[in-house]
């Protein structure tokens, strides 16, 4: 596995995954268009968007379930055209789906090696598999006493982590995490976020799909924001504060409008509206048109606009 890439090295190494101007249409429906994204070793690229923003379509393209209708997809600099997830997996692109991660009735070690069983003649090498599973999970900070317990008895966060460490163990270079924190509580989300950082430190590229800016900002190096199948911004961390990210995600003007509507309804609802309005102004996302704030900020920092990351990178190199 490559060591965590330093900023200075990026000009030498190709990004592990690079989508350029990719789009996907199903018949006359355009699900995704004009998406550019890259992830290098030791980096976390977050993809944020509300429901229906096109996140799933994007994952499916990267994971090899779908092919992009337009644009190009390169893995380590070579154009690829996957016809199945298996092919993507062979190039080290592993996807951990939120709800498909594990088979809950099966023991942890069976889940860990499912589809990649270590064989010794016709049999499985069970002692080796149990030992490896235990030590790999320990590496990720999950200390199980008994890898024979059904994985369903683990917490949701731990289950995601088993799926992540499994992907890492089987040679993933790029991890695609499909909303790994969506169904989890605060504490468990923290556990998963910690593993994302650990995977990054091991030199993996991570594509982290989420709709929660509070989860994305602390771990992310780049942020791709999607809305209705289009990119509404692609930023490096240095170009953006957490509040700006939250504002972009929430759609400041939509929230403000909602708060006015609520206030208009009177009573307790109005109080809620009041609180919402205060939040909006606190976050600094109230004025201007949707997304405008983000661009203005970036303009102030001397880059040319919302999708300027690559340009910004070029100047820094």
């Amino acid at each position: 596995m490559t060591s965590p890439t330093q900023q200075g090295l990026t000009s030498f190494s190709q990004p592990l995954v690079r989508l350029t101007d990719a789009g996907k249409s199903y018949g006359s429906i355009i699900a995704l268009s004009g998406i550019s994204l890259e992830v290098s070793a030791g980096e976390v690229t977050c993809v944020l968007g509300d429901n229906g923003a096109g996140k799933s379509t994007l994952i499916k393209i990267i994971a090899g379930l779908h092919q992009p209708s337009t644009g190009s997809y390169e893995v380590e600099g070579k154009p690829v055209n996957f016809s199945s997830p298996r092919e993507a997996l062979e190039l080290g692109i592993a996807t951990v789906y939120q709800d498909l991660a594990v088979v809950s009735l099966m023991p942890v070690w069976r889940n860990f090696f499912l589809g990649n069983e270590v064989r010794k003649g016709p049999r499985m090498d069970i002692p080796f598999m149990k030992k490896t599973c235990k030590s790999e999970l320990l590496d990720m900070g999950i200390d199980l006493r008994d890898v024979d317990q059904p994985i369903g008895t683990l917490s949701g966060g731990e289950r995601q982590c088993v799926a992540i460490s499994r992907a890492v163990y089987f040679g993933a270079k790029v991890l695609i995490l499909d909303e790994p924190t969506a169904a989890l509580g605060v504490k468990q989300s923290g556990v998963v976020l910690r593993y994302i950082i650990q995977a990054r430190e091991r030199g993996l590229g991570v594509i982290f799909i989420t709709h929660n800016p509070h989860h994305a900002y602390p771990v992310g190096d780049r942020f791709l924001l999607l809305n209705r199948g289009r990119s509404i911004g692609y930023y490096e961390k240095s170009q953006l504060t957490r509040d700006e990210l939250t504002g972009l995600m929430a759609g400041g003007s939509e929230l403000e409008q909602l708060s006015h509507e609520l206030e208009g309804m009177g009573g307790e609802v109005a109080a809620v509206g009041q609180v919402l309005e205060e939040d909006v102004s606190e976050l600094g996302i109230a004025p201007a048109e949707p997304g405008g704030r983000g661009r203005a900020t970036k303009g102030g920092r001397g880059t040319e606009g919302g999708r300027a990351t690559r340009g910004g990178r070029a100047t820094s190199e």
Partner: protein
């Protein structure tokens, strides 16, 4: 006891960890433990109330009856662990036997030719069941309900058309019969007790199935396709191939059981086998297989079949009216399932 290690509210550090369970709790977490408990209870019951039941020779009969169902219950258990049903399994046994018998008789060829043709037929029926289920996504319950009635109709109609009777002709004079009978329907004596070869086959197949389930990657795949087919697919398990293979394993054992029936009785009633599919499913469920798939054991299904055999014969030995058989069978099924569920809950709570 394990209680001391359970993470209580005063031990938050162990919250997400699992305490060591006692050996007893571990034992009872096995899927077949409920059935084993039930089997012991039923054995003791008939042992006490039916004196003839105590003879070794009667128990040998019990084992024989159990084995004829247990041979089929084994692949049915694997199939159910893999998340599918096969309602056509009962009549498929008869179809296979009829096919071998009629083919050998009508074409006057060595019975082994008929046996081979029947094997091809049974595997094909299994393949078609699995292929239709996987191809269309229609629940196997419905697909195999369809093939069940189709096979039943074919058994009756073709036998009637070909032989003008409701049973296949006696094939005991055809070449190869005695050799085939030795293979499929023989018996031997140990210590004065007659043991049927099907009992040995049954034990071998259960051991083989258990080994596959617990020790090979194929077993891992069977559990996974039943537990969550999409998850299995996502990590590269060939879900369709595994499930079709399981349906074909049912076909294989239907052939084997059919051959036993044929060479045991020389002739086959075209209407028999109907209803046996439920016995196989009952044996598997009593043995701890979940109806939803992903959990169960071949040994459990064997114990389920043994319970069936004990009740079947025990009622006769106890001198009761055999008409009561299905009533007791149903009651025992219900009782075993309740016991099973209770034990599993206890075991899971003890985690």
């Amino acid at each position: 006891m394990s209680d001391t290690l359970q993470a209580g509210p005063d031990r938050p550090a162990l919250d997400e960890r699992v305490g060591r369970r006692s050996t007893l709790a571990r034992l009872f977490a096995r899927p077949e433990m409920g059935a084993l408990t039930g089997a012991i209870v039923i054995y003791l019951f008939f042992f006490i109330i039916a004196p003839p039941f105590r003879n070794a020779s009667s128990f040998s009969t019990v084992l024989y009856v159990s084995s004829t169902y247990g041979l089929m219950a084994t692949p049915i258990a694997l199939l159910m662990i893999g998340g599918e049903f096969d309602l056509s399994a009962g009549v498929a046994v008869t179809s296979s036997a009829l096919c071998a018998s009629l083919f050998s008789y009508e074409f006057t060829v060595n019975v082994w030719v008929g046996v081979a043709v029947a094997l091809v037929l049974s595997l094909t029926v299994g393949f078609l069941n699995g292929w239709i289920v996987m191809r269309t996504g229609i629940p196997s319950f419905l697909v195999t309900l369809g093939t069940f009635f189709m096979l039943q109709g074919l058994n009756l109609a073709l036998t009637q058309t070909i032989t003008n009777a409701v049973a296949s002709p006696d094939i005991s004079n055809i070449q190869g019969f005695s050799a085939a009978q030795k293979v499929f329907a023989s018996s031997f004596t140990i210590g004065g007790v007659n043991i049927r070869s099907t009992v040995i086959y049954w034990i071998v197949f259960v051991a083989l199935a258990t080994w596959i389930l617990l020790r090979t990657h194929l077993g891992n795949w069977i559990f996974s396709v039943g537990g969550s087919a999409p998850s299995a697919r996502a990590v590269g398990v060939p879900v369709a191939r595994v499930k079709i293979g399981l349906f074909m394993a049912v076909g294989l054992m239907a052939w084997f059981t059919g051959m036993h029936t044929l060479f045991e009785f020389n002739t086959i009633q075209s209407g028999q086998g109907v209803g046996n599919e439920f016995v196989y499913i009952i044996a598997a469920v009593v043995g701890g297989c979940l109806l939803t798939g992903g959990y169960g054991s071949a040994v459990g299904a064997a114990i389920g079949a043994l319970i069936f055999g004990m009740v079947n014969q025990g009622i006769v030995y106890a001198g009761w009216d055999p008409d009561w058989f299905t009533f007791f069978l149903g009651a025992i099924l219900l009782g075993a399932i309740l016991l099973n569920t209770y034990i599993r809950r206890r075991a899971e709570a003890a985690r």
